[in-house]
Each structure stands twice: as C-alpha cells, then as structure tokens.
Symmetry: C2
Amino acid sequence: MTEQARGPRRPGGHGSDRGRPRDPEMDRMILDATIALLAEVGYVGLTVAEVARRAGVSKPAVYRRWAQKSQLVVEAMVTQMRPDVATGDRGVAEDLRALIGELIDLLSRTPLGRVLPGLVAEMAADPALAASYRELIIGPNQRRWRAAVDRGIARGELSADTDVDAVVNALAGPVYFGVLITGEPISADYPRTAVDLVLARYGTQDGQDRPPSSPTHTEEVRE
Amino acid sequence: MTEQARGPRRPGGHGSDRGRPRDPEMDRMILDATIALLAEVGYVGLTVAEVARRAGVSKPAVYRRWAQKSQLVVEAMVTQMRPDVATGDRGVAEDLRALIGELIDLLSRTPLGRVLPGLVAEMAADPALAASYRELIIGPNQRRWRAAVDRGIARGELSADTDVDAVVNALAGPVYFGVLITGEPISADYPRTAVDLVLARYGTQDGQDRPPSSPTHTEEVRE
DNA sequence: TTGTTACGTTACGGTCAGGATCGTAAAAGA
DNA sequence: TCTTTTACGATCCTGACCGTAACGTAACAA
C-alpha cells in the first residue's frame, strides 16, 4: 500500500517496464529540496514550484512522482525518521524517558515540528493522507512505545492490567499539545515527570527503579 | 487587545463616532453563517465569499470587520465557548472529570473539532493569530482547569507541591492528541482513567472522594 | 527502428484571499 | 438643511498557488 492505485507511481516502482525509466537521482533531489525548504518556511510556505526549482527539476517531474504536495511532504518526512535511541535493556522507566526525549527532539530539531501543523490540517481534509501519515510516521513510533510498555508489563515493572494505549497517549499527548496548541516549550523535566506520573499509577514495587521520592527532582541521570 | 491597531475594527467598537454606523445585525449574521459553514465544510473548506453569501452580505462587509479569514473564525468560535459545567464544590476529582468531559464535548460536538486542525496550521504561520487564539480560547479554559487544581491543593486533596501546569497538560494533552493526530475516538472512560492517573501521583489520602475502586485496581495513592 | 515513457518548457484553468473602485445609503455635526 | 464621514453592495482585480495539458526531445526496451 501507499503504492499503486494512483496515476503517479511511487519512486521505486515505476509504472511500466517499458519506455524511459525514471531518474532515481531525481527522487532524492526532490526529497532533499523538500526537507530543506520545509525547515525554512514550514508546510504552509512550501510551494511545489520552489521545490522543483531547488531540486533543479521541472514541476511536472515532481507531480509525476507525487500526486499532491501533501504526499510529497509525508514521504520527505519519512526519510527523516530513523530511531536514534535503543530500547530494551534498561527497564521501562528509562526506555520511556528515552522515547519521550526522542519525540521531543524529533519535533523540535527536525523539520517535522514546522511541518506538523500544516500536515494536521491536510489530514483533517484528506483521509487518504491521514492514513499514510499514521501508517508511516505515527505507526512505527507507536509500536516502539507499545513494545516498551509491553516489556515493562512482562517484566513485572508495570501492573498486568496496564492499559497500554492509555500510557502511550498520556506520555505523548502532552508533547503534541505543547507543540501544536499552547506553543509553550516543553520542560526539560518532562520525560522524567511524565514517567513518574505513569509509574505512580501503573508501576509495581518491582519496577521501582528509584524511590517515588521527592517530586521536584531526582538525582537520577538520563544516560 | 484584539481591538485597535488594525484597519478593520471590531464589531462592537467602530472606528470613529462619525459617519454611518455599522449594522450590528450584520456582525451576528456573519458569525452565524461562519459557524454553520464551519460545521459543514471545516476550516479549509470555508471561503469568505460563501460566508458572505449565506449571511446575505457583501464580501467587503466581512473584511471591514475582520482583516483575515482566520480572525473571523477565531471570533466565531469564541461565541461557541460558554462553559457548561460548574466547578468548585465537588472535589478535585469530580471537577477535573467534568472539565475533561466538557473539552471532549467541545471538540466533538461543536464545530471546534472541525476547525481546530486548520486553525493550528494558521497559528503556526501567524503569531498574531496564535496569540488571539490562546488568549480567547485556550486561556479561559486553562484558567478554569488551573483553578480546579489549585482548589484541590488548597483543600489538601492534592499534594502541596503539585505542578499545576503539568497536571493540566497531562489531562488535556491526550485529548488533543487523539483529535489531531491519531484520529482515534476518545474512550468514554478517559475522564475517569486520566484523573485516576493524576491522583495516583499527586493525590493525598484526604482527596479520596471515592474508593480507588479499582476500575482496574490500584489501591493506593501515592504518598 | 518503433513504441513507450521521462524530461523540460511553457502555458493554462481554477480557486481563493484580500484589496480597490464607485455609486449610494445612513448617520453625526454645523 | 447641508456637509462630512463612514457603511454598504456590486464589481473588478491582483497575486498566489495547485495541479494539468501540450509539445518537442531524450532515453530506454523490444
């Protein structure tokens, strides 16, 4: 999916084997130009004509590959999405803190933060786009988060009846809320305080990687 | 604020006392048409020309009152914002559950839900609009939520060092996250489970307005 | 070669925001 | 009553920008 069933085919899979093949170089040039431009002007300010100009390519060449501006942007963002924290061996608390930190980074240090608002608007008007976005961007991340929670449950760090989705939403929701709605910067403490919140409700004694101790802070380090 | 310093003045306060006064009826007609149209086609689908047509008014008449489409929409949404739950005498838990329920209602049963995505995109590109939105829509709500938390602290239901903003974000964030990003409907249980989460971390013994009855469990309150 | 497809160039069609003009209507002040 | 000021409708216009359509040419496959 994400492929066929549409006029312009996807970069990798050209429509037919006959005729002149697409220049694969162009795919990259266009995506790179898109990323660079998104970082500068955000989603709303991005125009396909300017992307084409920067990529040294014609506008129809762009539309041959991506039917809509919004699809181009989603695929460009996908290229930016490589997980940069490993999870699995440090206990739920540490894993979740790392994932939250990664999300904050993704939204504040890559163009995704500048792109998200515009993309949210398009998604609301274009269900197909929303599906792609959720599948390609949200989905993979959500699976990693869920896996971390699941491991916590399996290890007995979290109680057996923990509502996995509720935990994921409780941790990720406020981050998006800050970026999209309030505009207030996310506190550097957030990964820690958010995880504390969840552990207070769903944690077990085993899971205590540290005393529920004083709220204000904890000696603990990130690492 | 929100007033002067701009060509088109606001409905109530005309620019000058001389000359033909604005027809106040028109203000309402335009706002009503805006609300109705937003409910049908959402923010992106809304055009000023169509608003004018439905209101039985000319397009310039709209632009005399609101300099931009986005400002018109914000003010139209403000007219939809009347608190419909009272808070204050039932304990923090009940108050917060009511506020969450009200927010979910607002986003799912008024046009605000259809408007928010588009507005979020505009806000990202227009700081002045973002400021109005936060002041007129987010602000008043946030104050009510904070007040509820503050009362909880004052009554000893919440611990004295509770981070008020963190609590508000933790409760409201996931709601926006669901509406804007995942698109998944918000669970009917959410008001209850979310408040339980917060109480597990920040609640005190006094605050038990009901047995942790275990929706699922958790006997305890932390500390 | 012949057919098929990609490419650049150029030119459109269409939609919409936001502004300008102009003639007219409604008010305030002299 | 006359003048000034502003609102109003109707109409037109500019400027973006999305997304397509032609057309001629280049690069492949059979």
